[in-house]
């Protein structure tokens, strides 16, 4: 090995603690980069594979009832490849020993078959057998939640009649990767399930013999999606079609897509923060190292080393530190990526997970980190290379200081000399101080992201279920019913208040933009469902016109006062124009709201409702559930509170994990920045601090000067970090917004406090480590030589 390279290794060893602290930050950046991108690639790949192998449909449509003879005409639509019809029903389920209402989707499936399209994946047990009318396959999550094993039984209220079903197997389906009940906020495997049973019994219960109410199809290679959808809609119109939609609008697929989009955002932001901080740290350390080695550099040059050779020498040192971080980061990132992919596999009920690690991702990680490291140290290295040897031989002149701004204002009499030293030192290197502050702020901001998600979801739930929807139960009728049904609900023991409402599927259109959703007809001054404006104040629903979810208005580019075209997709399918009279704040889904009477007038179907909200007495809750489960005209019952509770439980685990990760990341940035800054400061001011010790200052008094500076910087960094964190959260909230849900930008005091606390703890740890170094401050040695 060449002597100059031996020097390199020795120096690397001598500064190992600092090198490690920097490498740690690089590890953070690289590992998140690798983890997020590989998880993302894996999810995409797995989803594609799953969809392809299980023939996930391209187009989906529900309708009221059509004869099977229509299939031939659907098949004839140009661009259609395979077609499968199904009978699909939303039913009440009854699981033994589980009191809360449970609902589910019941899908028809042929015997000994996984289906033609949307093929199920059998996890346990067997497929349905021919001629067995009471066999059922359960979605795995639901089966696991209730521990329903093959051989167990559960009951379903199928079109008013209770039927006992035998569980024969657990399955997964590409159609229900994300299993969420219609209108629900989050998956609840206890209260919502997907079930597959033989077609015959299901069809005869719903009068669907020789008919279907759901169709899915795949496109041939040359098929045009929109074209097929339009023609399918045309075909299904007479049969009560409520509008076909493409795969991209399929609920489960949409949630998954949103999730992947979020992953992508995170995959870009966090590595950027980390690598930025790493660049700064490398810059600080390299500058210091080079200034300590002025004489050595001069010597090397005097012996005939070229500027380039000197520059290369220091570049190598920096790249070596970076390489340690990159290699460890890649390893750690792959490990986390695999773990993360497996978490996703369970979370999304995927039958398998293909872990994909693209060479591009690794190459990008290496190039980006190396590039960032080089840019960060470019100035320091090039100034070392350019240093003229004669000048470099002489020690650096004493640093020039000035009185600070605060002192010029005449405030210096309040400061002791050590305090003045702190301020002057900060002011002498404003850029460096600023970068240090920025580094610490980034740590603070990173940590706020962890807490933000939790707070935002809690806020969503509070607003949606505490202020807006305040019923305990929602009962959904099998079909639109006379308002008189409310009396029978009202008469149930323990029911305190009932409000009926009407829901219709409709296509809302303004100019060339349209959106398919539901319009709800609700009581104008209802107590159980209240619309809120953007300031969360209750809105009065006027007798004429429609109120839209604010985000829906944004999508349609429609303002209050504009005329909205509503194309109802049910019943007589009227198309009407209605003025938009207001906007409502909703975090979940997109809806239109009208007064019940005006919606009914529009539909021309008399005074009907399709569902009801109930407020009930806790004591009678169980009885009410039992009554409703047996009621023939009620298709499903949704209970709010326990669903929210169970969601919180699962969410707490996820959030805890996420908070743990962000805390670790934020903490390591904070530690990396603070520890390094103090180490450098100690090395730069070694002599000064030792002199003070000679003059009779105690260790704590000397520490005050060093730590005081850090404390000042940290204290400035925390509010700035909170601002950065707020900005980061705002950016994430904005990126995560979709028609499925909007994340409110609410940050609780806890979030700020926690971030600040972790930053402060990181400084305290760094201080404790530096305290040790201060004990070894060698007064005698330092005073002997000129720096």
């Amino acid at each position: 090995m060449k002597a100059i390279d031996i020097k390199l290794w020795r120096e690397l060893w001598a500064m190992r603690m600092q090198a490690l602290a920097i490498a740690m930050v690089i590890v953070g950046g690289v590992s998140i980069f690798i983890m997020s991108l590989s998880t993302l690639d894996s999810l995409f790949e797995t989803r594609e594979n799953y969809y392809r192998n299980h023939h996930f449909a391209d187009v989906f449509a529900s309708l009221k009832r059509a004869p099977l003879s229509l299939v031939k005409r659907i098949q004839e639509i140009p661009g259609v490849d395979k077609v499968e019809t199904r009978v699909l029903a939303y039913v009440n389920l009854d699981v033994e020993d589980f009191k809360d209402p449970v609902s589910g989707h019941l899908l028809s499936l042929n015997a000994n078959s996984a289906g033609l399209l949307n093929q199920i994946y059998l996890r346990k047990g067997r497929l349905l057998e021919a001629g067995r009318d009471n066999e059922v396959l359960l979605s795995e999550e639901f089966a696991r939640a209730h521990d329903l094993q093959p051989g167990d039984k559960l009951a379903a209220t199928i079109n008013g009649r209770r039927k006992v079903l035998n569980v024969v197997g657990h399955v997964l389906s590409p159609e229900y990767i994300y299993q969420i009940a219609p209108g629900a906020m989050f998956p609840d495997y206890y209260r919502y399930g997907v079930l597959w049973m033989a077609r015959k019994p299901l069809a005869s219960a719903y009068d669907m013999d020789g008919a279907f109410n759901n169709v899915t199809l795949t496109l041939s290679k040359e098929g045009n999606e929109q074209d097929v959808i339009d023609r399918l809609d045309e075909l299904l119109k007479p049969y009560g079609g409520i509008g076909a939609y493409a795969r991209k609008d399929q609920l489960s697929n949409r949630f998954l897509t949103e999730e992947l989009k979020q992953q992508k955002t995170i995959a870009t932001i966090f590595p950027m923060i980390f690598l930025g901080v790493a660049a700064f740290l490398l810059n600080v350390v390299a500058s210091r190292l080079i200034s300590l080695q002025r004489e050595q550099i001069a010597g090397l040059k005097a012996f005939g080393y070229s500027n380039f050779a000197v520059g290369l020498h220091y570049t190598k040192l920096i790249l070596m530190i970076t390489a340690i971080g990159v290699i460890a980061g890649i390893g750690f990132g792959i490990w986390m990526g695999k773990g993360m992919s497996n978490i996703y596999m369970t979370f999304y009920s995927l039958p398998f997970m293909i872990y994909v690690l693209k060479a591009e991702v690794i190459i990008a990680a290496v190039l980006i980190s190396m590039g960032v490291a080089m840019v960060g140290t470019l100035y320091a290295v090039s100034s070392a290379a350019r240093l003229p040897p004669a000048q470099a031989m002489r020690p650096e002149p004493p640093a020039m200081y000035h009185t600070t701004l605060i002192e010029k204002l005449g405030l210096q009499r309040f400061f002791s000399q050590p305090t003045r030293m702190i301020f002057r030192h900060i002011e002498r290197r404003p850029l460096k101080s600023l970068m240090t502050i920025l580094g610490i702020s980034m740590a603070c901001g990173t940590m706020m992201v962890g807490g933000f998600q939790e707070g935002a979801i809690k806020h969503m739930v509070e607003v949606q279920f505490g202020m807006s929807q305040r019923s305990d139960l929602t009962a959904i009728f099998t079909e639109p019913t006379s308002q008189r049904s409310l009396y029978s609900l009202q008469s149930l023991r323990g029911v305190e208040h009932v409000e009926g409402f009407r829901v219709v599927t409709a296509k809302l259109q303004f100019e060339h933009r349209s959106y398919r959703t539901s319009v709800q007809g609700i009581a104008p001054n209802g107590r159980l469902m209240r619309l809120l404006d953007t300031r969360l104040q209750v809105i009065d629903l006027p007798p004429n016109g429609i109120i839209l979810t604010d985000y829906l208005a944004e999508i349609l580019h429609i303002k209050v006062g504009d005329m909205l075209t509503i194309e109802v997709l049910e019943g007589n399918r009227p198309v009407v124009q209605v003025p938009v009279v207001g906007l409502a704040k909703e975090y979940l889904g997109l809806n239109g709201y009208m007064q019940l009477n005006s919606l009914n007038r529009l539909l021309n179907e008399g005074h009907v409702i399709s569902a009801a909200w109930l407020k009930v007495d806790r004591l009678h809750q169980v009885n009410i559930y039992a009554e409703l489960k047996g009621a023939p005209r009620i298709a499903g019952v949704v209970e709010q509170e326990s669903a929210i509770k169970s969601f919180y439980e699962t969410m707490d685990e996820t959030i805890l994990f996420f908070t743990y990760i962000t805390t670790l990341l934020g903490g390591s940035i904070a530690f990396g920045v603070i520890y390094n800054s103090m180490r450098i400061a100690l090395s730069e001011r070694n002599r000064e601090l030792a002199s003070l010790r000679v003059l009779g200052f105690h260790r704590s008094e000397v520490a005050y000067i060093l730590l005081g500076e850090m404390a000042v910087l940290t204290l400035i960094a925390i509010p700035l970090g909170i601002m950065i964190g707020y900005g980061l959260c705002a950016y994430l909230a904005f990126q995560f917004d979709s028609d499925l849900y909007r994340i409110p930008l609410v940050l609780g005091l806890k979030v700020y406090a926690f971030a600040a606390l972790v930053v402060i703890s990181s400084s305290v740890i760094s201080v404790l480590m530096i305290w040790r170094n201060l004990a070894h401050l060698d007064m005698v040695a330092v005073l002997k030589t000129k720096e």
Binding site: Y401, Q417, R428, E688, S691, G696, E701, V780
Partner: protein, 247 residues
């Protein structure tokens, strides 16, 4: 041995400030042992201006640092008045330096971020009965440079600030390690004048290290060190003024 030194200490004269008894100092340099002091015995008297003379590496700085509480001997005892410095804790040594000792070094060791006045104040703020920083600086002739930062001062001026800083706390002893080593003779004389003025005006016990024999002529007493041992001690019959010295 320790009881022996105790008993000897009882009979000390009242004007002895430092009583150095059989002090040795061994530095362990990896495999090699460096014997910097090999058994030094000396008493230093109150108000005396002492010059420590010797070749480079003879152990002058080592002795001075031990007197100043910066270092502890390997063997032997150093008494400051009644106190045995070799038995003091780290905390006690800090307090000792803080309240009793003033240091001046070859390379000034001023704090670059503080002005001349503030460099003095940094010490007076923690001392018991200090003079005003301005007075201390006036004593060394720097009353016109109060608000200059070290970077704005010449070497001689920086050293005089260092002297002002050392004397401003009214120390009992002033220890100077080659205070003129980094200065040209003209500036050196100004610095020595400042030291002499302090010694005469305040009666501060002063020890000055030098390897320049010429400077010895301004001392009350001269101590020669050779290879870690005291080789010669003598009193000057007549003390010269710094400007009369021959470099």
């Amino acid at each position: 041995m320790s009881s022996d030194s105790q008993s000897r200490h009882q009979i000390l004269e009242e004007n002895v400030v430092f009583h150095v008894h059989e002090v040795t100092k061994v530095y362990q340099m990896g495999e090699v042992q460096v014997r910097a002091l090999r058994g030094v015995d000396i008493d230093l008297h109150r108000g005396e201006f002492t010059v420590l003379l010797g070749a480079s590496g003879s152990g002058k700085s080592t002795l001075l640092n031990i007197l100043g509480g910066l270092d502890i001997p390997t063997e032997g005892h150093v008494f400051y008045g009644e106190r045995d410095l070799t038995r003091a804790t780290e905390r006690e040594l800090t307090e000792y330096r803080r309240f009793h000792v003033g240091f001046v070094f070859q390379f000034y060791n001023l704090i670059p971020s503080l002005t001349a006045r503030e460099n003095v104040a940094v010490v007076t703020e923690i001392a018991k009965s200090p003079m005003k920083p301005e007075d201390a600086l006036k004593l060394v002739g720097l009353e016109s440079r109060l608000d200059h930062f070290p970077a704005q001062l010449s070497g001689g001026e920086q050293q005089r600030v260092a002297i002002a800083r050392a004397i401003a706390k009214n120390p009992d002893v002033l220890l100077c390690d080659e205070p003129t080593g980094a200065l040209d003779s003209k500036t050196g004389i100004v610095v020595l004048q400042a030291l002499q003025r302090v010694n005469q005006a305040l009666g501060t016990t002063t020890v000055v290290i030098t390897h320049n024999a010429g400077i010895a002529q301004m001392a009350d007493r001269v101590i020669h060190l050779t290879d870690g041992l005291i080789s010669k001690v003598y009193k000057n019959e007549t003390r010269l003024r710094p400007d009369e010295l021959n470099w």
